[in-house]
Amino acid sequence: MDGLTVLRVAVTVVFALNGLMLAVILIVKPLHRARDDRHRRRRSTYIALLSRHLASNSGKVEMGKKVADDQAFLDALIDLRSVIGGEEAEMLGDLVDRFDIARKQSVNLRRRIRTDRRLRAAVALAELADESAAPTLMAHLADNEQEVRVQCARGLGRMRWRPAIAAILDRFEVETPWVRSRFADSLVDYGTEATWPLISYIRVHHRLAAPGVPSAVRTLGAIGDSEAVPALLEVLDDSTDAEIQIAVVETLGRIGGPMAFDPVEKAARSEDWRLRAKAATALATLGDVSVIPTLALGLEDENWWVRRNSASSLSHLPTGIDVLYAALLSQDRFARDAASEALAEAGEVLAARARIESGRGEPRDIHLVDHVDKKLALL
């Protein structure tokens, strides 16, 4: 075959393949759309049926058992489960039992084929199943599919299945950051039951600067149990890892309490700017006006984030606004800028303009508006 013929054949093949792909798209896309529309209509029908079932409270079920095999029915149950509570949610739970949904979805989850079906099964179990599904969910915390693992952890957290706490924490070291943070979210559902397992995990792993430790620390912050504070203080003293220290300072700010105050204030004077910046934010969440002098110093920090966070924290504290106005007269240009930006975010610029326009403006209002207008003129 000569070169021209080869070229002709190649071009023909490329065009033929493109044509085939276009044909597939033109046929497959409408088919998918039609399938999605049918699914949406069935889901709406099921929502209407289930709503009538809940409203009638008769206990009689108008649906045949075959609906339990329909994904649209499961989607309708999940949607309803997310908006109702109390005894009405229990009525939906009765339907889940009556239609044997947990067992059927457990079988689907254990299947090796059809990842999409396995994932839908994991979601259904996470949202609808009771504790009888816990062993299945536990077994799949190490599933090959990360989304399945996330849903299993979520389901176990919703059920507050205690044996899962240790199993979830065991996964912290091997999971990606995204999956680890989803696992951490599911631990928050356990509330204070997860406090001591988290503390044990942190105590063991922080010396190795294990990547899961900051997530575990932040989870304690989300739970908000003040019993964690002494352990967190130990870790802050002991750890040399900046990420862990930053997470601890953030968490101490979040949990609060008298024991948290001094270490967070000390962190605001750290040599590491990341720790100073985090401490500046944490001091605001501690909400004590005695932190104002520390934050005022932070306005003149060499690092932008520290200045910004200090200014923002001041704007959230009683009398902190006064400090920001005073900082507009500072010799330090960066302190003036940080103060004016925080005042603007707090709505003070608009309020100052309004006061000036109505004849009630004070000198500090004029000063603020002047400063902002000069900055805008430079842009």
Binding site: S44, I47, A48, S51, R52, L54, A55, S56, A76, D79, L80, S82, V83, I84, G85, G86, E87, E88, A89
Partner: protein
């Protein structure tokens, strides 16, 4: 028969609430966005409105504010999944007669509707 407007962009919530209210003997109109809610509330004879805080178009509080400016005085119950005290207080200050957080008991919402209508 009392007429109730249900405004929520979630089909699930709309259907759930409208079914329960219809079962309780009310006539229900449903819409799925803020602009439609405002139009129906302004132009039709409504005895009570249940509106979601977060909707496309106008937010629930914006709809409530516009109704109040237009002098519409039917009771409004705010529905929200936002668990924020400021939102609750703002809604009540703006004139909502009640605030129901999601997830909710449909029976309880129906009872609150009945109470709000009795008080009117």
């Amino acid at each position: 028969m009392k007429r109730i407007l249900v405004a929520d962009d979630s089909e699930t919530v709309s259907m759930l609430v409208s079914t329960a209210l219809a079962n309780a003997g009310y006539s229900v109109t449903t819409v799925d966005n803020g602009m439609a809610a405002f139009s129906v509330g302004s132009e039709q004879d409504i005895d009570l409105a249940i509106i979601d805080q977060l909707m496309p178009g106008l937010l629930g509080m914006e709809v409530l504010e516009k109704w109040k400016s237009d002098g519409r005085d039917f009771p409004v119950i705010m529905l929200s999944s936002v668990n924020d005290e400021t939102t609750i207080v703002d809604s009540l200050r703006m004139g909502a007669v009640d605030f129901v957080r999601k997830p909710f008991l449909v029976k309880e919402l129906t009872a609150r509707v009945s109470l709000a209508l009795q008080r009117r």
